[in-house]
């Protein structure tokens, strides 16, 4: 099952015109009760985000003194954003840039490694290939956080703790990504095409980078996007690996601000709370936008992982 198939079969299904007119009429009948039920569910999922948006326009005092799900009399979103960016000499900007750096390097690296590995396992037979692949597949079930503490201890010996590498290196190995790319490569890269290129005298590296990688594109983007999200959202690993606030990604930074806001008595006197709330809003905007723009990719990619077992 290639990931192009779901979209291919989905397209005619979504389009209204159908062979017989009677079917078409039945298809166009919408259910109002079901729509209302789903809109209620939707409200649950959007409620916290709506609250966050409203809360970002408030001062800490207003957070306590006005109703949470509506604006106060003095909205100050821009002031809050400015204060978030300038607090502690602009450490929030550092966190944002760190997060982008960690997430992008990890995602590109992990996607390329998984693509090369998946292609190698799908298109070549060599001694031990089965064993090696099963070893990686078994690792899909090993939880990353169970690995984090031992990895920290190893990295501490190697002097890698408290450097960007401590976050990037563990994120490069994505066993599920390799599994996904192997499935994808098996169908998306035809053997006949590879043979033809070989007969034309192309080297294996050239075939991979010039031909295979292009055919693997959608799968590659899927692994890229999911590693990006995983690294962007990662909290446990940077929490244990880093102790220099200038190296924090946004998750650990926000958590440290939240702890400060809490220790400040949690009262209206501390103005950290407004910064935590506004910082939270600012940190989710890029990913939400990326997901909405790239939805074609993650949907088809998820289909590939979910269909073939």
């Amino acid at each position: 099952m290639t990931t192009t198939t779901p979209t291919a079969t989905a397209a005619p299904k979504a389009a209204a015109p159908e062979p017989t007119p009677r079917r078409a009429r039945r298809r166009s009948r919408r259910s109002t009760p079901l729509t209302i039920a789903m809109l209620a569910a939707l409200a649950y999922f959007l409620l916290p985000l709506f609250w966050l948006l409203i809360a970002s326009t408030k001062s800490t005092q207003d957070l306590f003194n006005s109703f949470g799900l509506w604006f106060s009399h003095a909205p100050q979103l821009l002031t809050n954003i400015k204060e978030t960016f300038t607090q502690d000499d602009g450490v929030f900007v550092h966190w944002l840039l760190n997060t982008v750096l960690y997430a992008v390097v990890s995602a590109v690296g992990a996607a390329l490694l998984a693509a090369a590995g998946g292609y190698g396992f799908a298109k070549f037979r060599f001694r031990g290939d089965r064993f090696a692949f099963n070893l990686v597949l078994g690792a899909v079930m090993v939880p990353t956080t169970a690995l984090a503490i031992p990895t920290y201890l190893l990295f501490a010996k190697a002097g890698l703790v408290n450097t960007p590498w401590a976050i990037i290196l563990p994120s490069l190995v994505n066993p599920f990504g390799l599994y996904l790319m192997r499935i994808y490569a098996a169908d998306a890269v035809p053997d006949s095409l590879l043979e033809a290129a070989r007969i034309d005298g192309a080297g294996e590296a050239r075939i991979f980078f010039r031909i295979a990688l292009r055919l693997l594109g959608p799968g590659l983007v899927t692994v890229l996007l999911f590693t990006l999200v995983a690294t962007w959202n990662n909290y446990f690993l940077p929490l244990i690996m880093l102790n220099d606030p200038d190296l924090y990604p946004i998750t650990v930074g926000l958590a440290s601000w939240a702890a400060q806001a809490q220790n400040g008595g949690a009262g209206a006197s501390s103005d950290m709370l407004a910064l935590v709330v506004t910082g939270s809003l600012l940190s989710i905007v890029p990913l939400v936008v990326a997901f909405l723009m790239l939805q074609r990719y993650w949907q088809s990619g998820l289909a590939a992982g979910g269909v073939k077992q």
């Binding site: 039920a37 959007l46 090696a132 070893l135 079930m141 503490i149 990895t151 070989r198 959202n233 992982g305």
Partner: protein, 292 residues
């Protein structure tokens, strides 16, 4: 001849970079944890080999057992609820009966793009007694405020956060799988007189098996290593969430607060083992049921 030989050599070269990092960053830490778990750092005598002593200690450690028990309970309650919701939403989206289907699908999925840290902070504030809207509303109505952060509610409150984060993700996996069911199957079923519910039960559900299994496996792995949400709510409810509330939280506090490196490695290793065993148990039960 040389071309054939070069081609044989190419396969290992493509997989080598991944496997090298896999060895260094996956197998080596696992091996190191296993090695560390066999030693103890004592005041007198320094680092001593103790065999399986750490494991016998861990298996009788009430804090660890409670932590594992709590995540197991969390798994048993939260995961079926989350997957059932995801399944119902996916079937509703696929039924073609919805207006605004696209908006609904994306809206339910959006929480997946929210970091769990932000999700836990947001819900923590929403739950809170001071400026959480639920407490505000109950105060306005003269009712006692629901104490979502109390001992009795906490596990449910955590389950709600995790459900909020992951229903959309699971829904998309299931929905994508539904879209791959060939149209002819529906036509054949309709020809045989099957209604919408019958089609959902007899055609769609069996076709969803692999996707459901995948979501279930990811959920096993996710719930047993529960850490971020309790770690953040701990700061607003320190009396309810102890440093050993979940197994992973316990391993963390052992390593970084207690400095008990060897014991922390043991707990990590055991937790990993529990998750692998639970995952295989899920796989085996699923596969056995397939061949009745």
């Amino acid at each position: 001849m040389t071309a054939v030989r070069r081609r044989r050599a190419a396969g290992p070269l493509f997989v080598a970079p991944f496997l090298a990092l896999f060895l260094l960053l996956f197998l080596a830490p696992l091996g190191y944890a296993a090695y560390l778990s066999l030693f103890q750092n004592r005041l007198i005598g320094g680092n001593v080999f103790v065999g399986l002593d750490n494991y016998t200690q861990a298996l009788r450690d009430p804090q660890l057992l409670h932590g594992v028990g709590r995540v197991a309970l969390f798994f048993v309650i939260q995961v079926p609820l989350m997957l059932l919701l995801a399944l119902l939403f996916a079937l509703a989206l696929d039924s073609g009966l919805l207006r605004l289907a696209r908006v609904i699908r994306l809206g339910i999925f959006v929480p997946y793009a929210v970091p769990s840290v932000v999700a836990a902070l947001m819900w923590g504030y929403l739950y809170g007694p001071d400026f959480g809207p639920f407490a505000q509303l109950s105060r306005d109505l003269g009712l006692p405020a629901p104490d979502f952060l109390s001992d009795g509610w906490m596990l449910g409150s955590l389950a709600n956060i995790v459900t909020w984060e992951f229903v959309g993700y699971n829904m998309i996996i299931l929905y994508a799988a539904l879209r791959t069911i060939p149209q002819e199957l529906y036509e054949a079923a309709a020809m045989d007189g099957a209604g919408a519910w019958r089609i959902a039960w007899s055609v769609k559900l069996p076709a969803l098996r692999p996707a459901l299994l995948l979501t279930l496996l990811f959920s096993v792995i996710g719930s047993f290593q529960l850490f971020n949400e309790p770690n953040l709510l701990m700061k607003i409810a320190p009396d309810v969430i102890s440093s050993s509330y979940t197994a992973n939280l316990y391993a963390y506090s052992l390593a970084f607060t207690g400095q008990q490196v060897n014991y922390a490695a043991t707990v990590s290793f055991l937790l990993g083992l529990v998750i692998v065993i639970a995952s295989y148990a899920v796989l085996l039960t699923a596969n056995r049921r397939r061949t009745p």
